[in-house]
């Protein structure tokens, strides 16, 4: 049998303007095909929607009550004016939720048998606050605690007021509830890191905390980005629940307009505003994760 071996230079051959390889040609074809499929299926779906929906008997009503152009133009700037309240509430809650959530996740991961009570506490906490509907937590904390008749003032970032303010207990309720969800997300991430990573870190003399901070959590956090985004997106919308406590925000505003006009267009407007807010977020996070994976990862199986 024959065995051949060529050597055309040890370094990389310079290739300023070369003929495409078979693979490159194929990749181009595939991309073109993909574009074609995408375009044609999009067109088909759009056509179907555009042709069928207006033929349904109720379309004029739906158009008037859900996709009312005049209302849209009027409500969009109106509702936008209330967005800042949601954003402020959201931004107030997020850091507390993340910190407390990570802390709870780490408590559940404690292995020292003497610290079992901490672990049990964290488990009980997550069970409790995931078990109770968020809305009930908001009711119980947001109406129950102020009803105790506390006196005084509070100041928290951009919010301030009396001790029974909805701007205090509302965020507290959300933090209590969402930290339980976020804790479980982080726990799944932490438990997903192979034990050998801990062994590697601890063998180098890193303490338990350093191991968490530099080795386990960074890997865990990256893995749980999608479910964490789930919770952040839910939170962004659940701040609207604080309207129960009297916070007047975007969603409440939409509701008021709807109840006044019997027209659902403000809800569509609210949905559009939320989408304008969230889609760039999710795209950015996705892009960032994909880039990190590409940079640090090995080869992908074809």
């Amino acid at each position: 049998m024959a065995a051949l071996s060529h050597r055309e230079g040890a370094g990389d051959p310079p290739a300023p303007s070369r003929v495409l390889t078979r693979r490159e040609v194929w990749l181009r074809q595939q991309r073109r095909r993909a574009a074609l499929i995408a375009a044609s299926s999009m067109t088909a779906v759009l056509l179907a929607v555009v042709l069928i929906v207006p033929r349904t008997p109720g379309w004029p009503t739906v158009k008037k009550t859900f996709f009312n152009g005049a209302r849209f133009r009027q409500d969009f700037p109106d509702l936008l004016g209330y967005l800042w309240t949601d954003v402020k509430l959201f931004l107030t809650c997020v850091p507390f939720i993340l910190i407390w959530g990570v802390a709870l996740a780490m408590m559940r991961n404690i292995r020292n048998p003497a610290l079992f009570p901490l672990r049990a506490f964290a488990a009980a906490y997550t069970d409790l606050f995931r078990g109770i509907p968020v809305i009930l937590t908001i009711y119980l904390v947001g109406f129950g605690i102020p009803a105790l008749g506390l006196k005084g003032e509070f100041h928290l970032l951009w919010f301030g007021g009396r001790w029974n303010s909805a701007y205090l207990w509302g965020p507290v309720a959300l933090i209590l509830a969402y930290s339980a969800y976020v804790a479980e997300v982080f726990r799944s991430g932490i438990e997903g890191i192979h034990e050998s990573q801990r062994a590697g870190a601890r063998s180098l003399g890193l303490t338990q905390t350093q191991t968490m901070r530099h080795v386990v959590l960074p890997q865990a956090a990256r893995r749980v980005v999608p479910p964490l985004m789930n919770d952040m997106l839910s939170l962004q919308k659940d701040v609207a629940l604080l309207s129960l406590l009297g916070v007047y925000e975007l969603f409440r505003r939409a509701q008021v307009i709807k109840d006044r006009t019997f027209n659902y267009t403000p809800y569509v407007v609210a949905a559009v505003i939320f989408l304008i807010l969230t889609i760039p977020e999710t795209r950015l996070v996705d892009w960032y994760s994909a880039r990190h994976r590409r940079r640090t990862g090995g080869s992908q199986v074809a």
């Binding site: 071996s5 040890a10 390889t21």
Partner: protein
């Protein structure tokens, strides 16, 4: 030695890693014929591209350019052809990975019997019997119900070998399959490889154990920086290397007492 008909013909294989901006070619225009029922050993420094070459043959890495013809029942296919369905090919090719790649959520036995049952349609009883026989042979019968994370390094490696063997492929790609094994087991694996060859299997091995290569190979290829510098039967390559670089490598191997 034998094998006038080639099993695998590699022609001008090129493979690179990285993004457009930072591209590093790790296999340069590799050409190699692997005869039917032959054992070909790839030797060379760490990072010279041995594993990458095996992965290319198994279609696990898309190649940049070149051809890899696999001959067998039903004619020849070019594994480097983009868009080729890999599944029917891969069931004809077995592979043992340098890092084992066992499935941690399955017991040893299930790791081994999964593919024979799902891919070849073996019955559970059949698959288990084959698996237990092979495990027995490599001294692992008592670990059939253990999980990969509960095994020692050498035990994991043996499970990986058994998993590939259980598929009874035409072509076997073996990446450093003796690295974690004790010398006694290395001898046993050597025997298994010999038997497989006699049963008609073709094999490509990447190995750092020159002794192993010398004993078993029909052809030894010396890789350096992604280039096959020299390939010859072991008797020739180890005693009268043609290339200055090969001589140099072997000299340093001998100097460090490893040949």
């Amino acid at each position: 030695m034998n094998g006038a008909t080639p099993k695998v013909e590699i022609r001008n294989l090129r493979k690179s890693f990285g993004t457009k901006a930072h591209r590093r070619t790790v296999l340069h225009d590799i050409c190699l014929d692997i005869g039917e029922h032959e054992v070909v050993c790839l030797i060379g420094a760490s990072g010279s591209g041995k594993s990458t070459m095996l992965r290319c043959i198994n279609m696990l890495e898309p190649v940049d350019d070149g051809e890899i013809w696999l001959h067998g029942t039903g004619g020849a296919v070019d594994l480097a052809e983009p868009g080729l369905d890999p599944d029917p090919i891969r069931r004809r090719i077995g592979m043992v990975f340098q890092s084992y790649n066992l499935f941690p959520h399955m017991s040893v036995l299930r790791n081994i019997t999964l593919a024979p049952m799902k891919v070849l349609g073996r019955s559970a009883g059949d698959a288990k019997a084959t698996a237990m026989h092979l495990l027995q042979r490599l001294g692992l019968a008592d670990k059939a119900d253990a999980y990969p994370d509960q095994l020692s390094g050498g035990q994991q490696q043996r499970v990986a070998i058994v998993r590939a063997l259980a598929m009874q492929p035409e072509l076997m790609l073996l990446d450093e399959i003796t690295a974690a094994l004790d010398p006694v087991l290395v001898g046993e694996v050597l025997n298994v490889v010999r038997e497989m060859r006699n049963d008609g299997m073709t094999m490509v091995l990447a190995t750092h154990e020159m002794g192993f290569a010398r004993e078993i190979a029909d052809l030894v290829c010396f890789l350096q920086d992604g280039v096959i510098l020299e390939s010859a039967p072991p008797a020739q390559l180890f005693t009268e290397p043609q290339h200055a670089e090969t001589r140099d490598f072997l000299a340093r191997v001998i100097a460090s007492g490893r040949l």
